[in-house]
C-alpha cells in the first residue's frame, strides 16, 4: 500500500504497479483458459466419439430352441482407442412359436455381469443371484429391470441381424 501511495499521489489514477498486477492476472487467466478448455476436451474426447454400428449376423431362426432362451455368441472386430481386438457379443433369442422372436442382451441389468440359462428354468446371474424368466423379466434378486430388448431384423434367408452395440 505504502509503495503505491509513494508512486502515485492521486488514488483515482491507475498506478504502474496496479496496471502490471492486473495485466499479469489477465494474461494468466488467458493462458489458463487456452490450456484449460483444450485439456477438458482432450480428457473427455473418448466419450464424444461415435462408434460406427454395423449390422451383425446373430444366427438362423432355425437354431432357436422353442420355449428356451437360446444364447447366440458372435465375435466382432472392434477398435478401442488404438487397439484392434475381437470381442464377443452374446444375446438370448427366445421364441414360443418359431414365428415371433425376442432378442435380448445377456448383460445383467444389476451391475453388468453375464447371465446364462439355468436348466431349472430361469436365466441366472451368478454375481448376486439375480434371476430372470424366459422373457427376461426379473423373478428374484437385485436386478432392477428386465434384460434389455434389442431391435433386430430377420432377412430373406431367415438370418437374425442386429445392430452392433
Amino acid at each position: 500500500m505504502t509503495d503505491a501511495q509513494m508512486e502515485n499521489e492521486d488514488p483515482r489514477e491507475l498506478s504502474r504497479r496496479e496496471f502490471m498486477d492486473r495485466s499479469i492476472k489477465a494474461i494468466g487467466a488467458f493462458i489458463g483458459l487456452t490450456m484449460g478448455i483444450p485439456a477438458v476436451g482432450y480428457l473427455i474426447s473418448p466419450a464424444l466419439q461415435q462408434q460406427p454400428g454395423g449390422r451383425v449376423r446373430l444366427g438362423r431362426t432355425s437354431e432357436v430352441e422353442i420355449g428356451v432362451p437360446t444364447l447366440f455368441t458372435v465375435t466382432i472386430d472392434k477398435t478401442t482407442g488404438w487397439v484392434k481386438s475381437e470381442i464377443d457379443l452374446a444375446y438370448f433369442v427366445y421364441t414360443e412359436d418359431g414365428i415371433n422372436f425376442t432378442v435380448m442382451s445377456n448383460i445383467c441389468t444389476h451391475l453388468g455381469c453375464r447371465t446364462h440359462w439355468n436348466e431349472a428354468g430361469y436365466i441366472y446371474c451368478p454375481c448376486h443371484d439375480g434371476r430372470f424368466d424366459v422373457q427376461g423379466n426379473v423373478i428374484a434378486g437385485p436386478p432392477p429391470r428386465p434384460l434389455k430388448r434389442v431391435e433386430f431384423q430377420v432377412d430373406a434367408n431367415n438370418t437374425i441381424l442386429i445392430r452392433e452395440a
Binding site: 490450456m35 483444450p38 485439456a39 476436451g41 482432450y42 480428457l43 473427455i44 474426447s45 473418448p46 464424444l48 466419439q49 482407442g81 488404438w82 487397439v83
Partner: protein, 230 residues
C-alpha cells in the same frame, strides 16, 4: 473476518506471497527473465506431459499407435502433443540462454555458487528429459536416434559393454529399453527436476537477484533487509 484473513492467520500465506512473488529486485532487464521463461515452459511440460500419459502406452506393440491416436483421433490431441514436443526444444534453448546470461553477467560469483551448481544439475536433467522423451513415439527416427545415442555409452573403457546393457536393459533396444526410458522420463526425472528447481529457486529468493555488472553496489542480502526494516 474474510477467508483470506482466516487463512493467513493460520498459514502466514501473505508472507509467502510477499517473499516469493512481491520480493524486491534490482532494476534489471529482459535477460533476467530467462530463468522465469524456463520455469514457465517447465510448467507447460508438466501439464502437457501428464495429459499425454492419459493415452500413451510404453510398449513396442502399441506405443506408436497410441501416439498416432493422440495426434489424429483425440480432441486437441495435436495441440497437447505439439505443446509438449516444441516445448521440449524451447526448454533446452531457454536453459542454455539462461545459463549464458548468468555467465555474461557474472551472476555465478559469490554468494551464488550453489545456485550455479544446482543450475548445472538442471541442465543435465533437462537434457536427459529430451533424450529419454525422444524414444517414446517408437518410430524409426526415435529407434535409430536412441540406438546411436546409447551406443556412445558402450565406448567407455572396460565397463562400456556392461553400462550399455544397463542403459538398454539388454544388448539391443527392446521392450525393456522403452519401458525404462518411459519410467525415467515420467518418474525419475520429474522428481529430480522438482527437487532441484525448488532448491534453485529457494537460493534465488534467499540471495536476491544479482545486480547487473554495470551497477557498483550489490543490493543488501535478505537477512540484512529484514533487520533494516525492523
Amino acid at each position: 473476518m474474510g477467508l483470506g484473513q482466516w487463512l493467513n492467520e493460520r498459514t502466514g500465506i501473505h508472507d509467502v506471497y510477499r517473499v516469493v512473488l512481491a520480493r524486491k529486485i534490482p532494476k534489471t532487464g529482459w535477460a533476467y527473465t530467462l530463468g522465469s521463461a524456463t520455469l514457465f515452459v517447465m510448467i507447460n511440460q508438466i501439464v502437457t506431459g501428464i495429459l499425454l500419459s492419459i493415452y500413451y502406452v510404453p510398449t513396442p506393440d502399441h506405443a506408436w499407435d497410441s501416439v498416432n491416436y493422440i495426434q489424429n483421433e483425440v480432441l486437441f490431441g495435436w495441440l497437447i502433443r505439439g505443446l509438449h514436443h516444441f516445448g521440449a526444444s524451447a526448454m533446452v534453448i531457454l536453459v542454455g540462454l539462461h545459463m549464458i546470461r548468468v555467465v555474461i553477467y557474472g551472476a555465478y560469483k559469490y554468494p551464488r555458487e550453489v545456485t550455479w551448481l544446482t543450475g548445472v544439475l538442471l541442465l543435465i536433467i533437462t537434457m536427459a528429459f529430451g533424450f529419454t522423451g525422444y524414444l517414446l513415439p517408437w518410430d524409426q527416427k526415435a529407434y535409430w536416434a536412441t540406438t546411436v545415442g546409447t551406443q556412445f555409452v558402450g565406448t567407455t573403457p572396460l565397463v562400456g559393454d556392461w553400462m550399455l546393457n544397463v542403459v538398454r536393459g539388454g544388448p539391443d533396444l527392446s521392450a525393456v529399453t522403452l519401458a525404462r526410458f518411459f519410467g525415467v522420463h515420467v518418474w525419475v526425472l520429474p522428481a529430480a527436476l522438482l527437487t532441484v528447481v525448488s532448491i534453485h529457486l529457494f537460493l534465488v529468493i534467499r540471495l536476491g537477484i544479482s545486480n547487473p555488472p554495470w551497477k557498483k553496489n550489490q543490493p543488501p542480502l535478505p537477512q540484512d533487509e529484514t533487520e533494516a526494516s525492523a
